[in-house]
Symmetry: C2
Subunit: 82 residues, 2 copies
C-alpha cells in the first residue's frame, strides 16, 4: 500500500478569491502583517500497487483526470512510508 500526499494549487496569475477572503478575515482579526494568501487542496490517497512506479503512474493520472483542473491548477505529490 502506497500513500501519496497530493498538493493542488492554483497556477500563478490565476485569481484566488478564496485566498483573498481568508486574507481579509485575517486583517479583520488584526493580522495586518499578512501580505498574501493562496488556498489550495491537500489530499492523502492510499493506493494498492505492485511498485512505487505503478502507484506514481496511477496518482499522476488521477490528478490529471479528477483531482486537479490542469487548465488553472498545478499539482505535485510525494509518497510517504509504505
Amino acid at each position: 500500500m502506497f500513500t501519496a500526499r497530493i498538493y493542488v494549487t492554483l497556477k500563478e496569475g490565476v485569481l484566488d478569491p478564496q485566498g483573498g477572503a481568508v486574507m481579509n478575515s485575517l486583517h479583520t482579526l488584526g493580522y495586518q502583517s499578512v501580505k498574501d494568501v493562496r488556498v489550495g487542496k491537500y489530499l492523502v490517497v492510499s493506493v494498492q500497487a505492485s511498485s512505487q512506479e505503478q502507484a506514481e503512474k496511477q496518482v499522476n493520472e488521477m490528478c490529471a483526470k479528477l483531482l486537479a483542473n490542469p487548465v488553472i491548477e498545478d499539482y505535485k505529490f510525494e509518497f510517504v512510508g509504505e
Copy 2:
C-alpha cells in the same frame, strides 16, 4: 517576508465525506486500487515579520483562530525560503 505552507487535515477518526466522495469518483473512473482518500486544506501565507520566531507565533495563532477548527482538525506548517 516569510512564507508559510500550512496543511490542515481532519483529525483521525473524524468522518470525511468529501474524501469519501472523491474515492467513489475515483472508483467510478476505474481506480479500484484506491483504498482511502482524506481531503484537507493547503494554504500559502506570506507574513511580514522581524524574525522567523515572530512569524511562527503569528501563523500558529492564525491557524488556531481562523484557518483550522481545533475541535476536528489538525494543522502543521513550515516556512519556505525568505
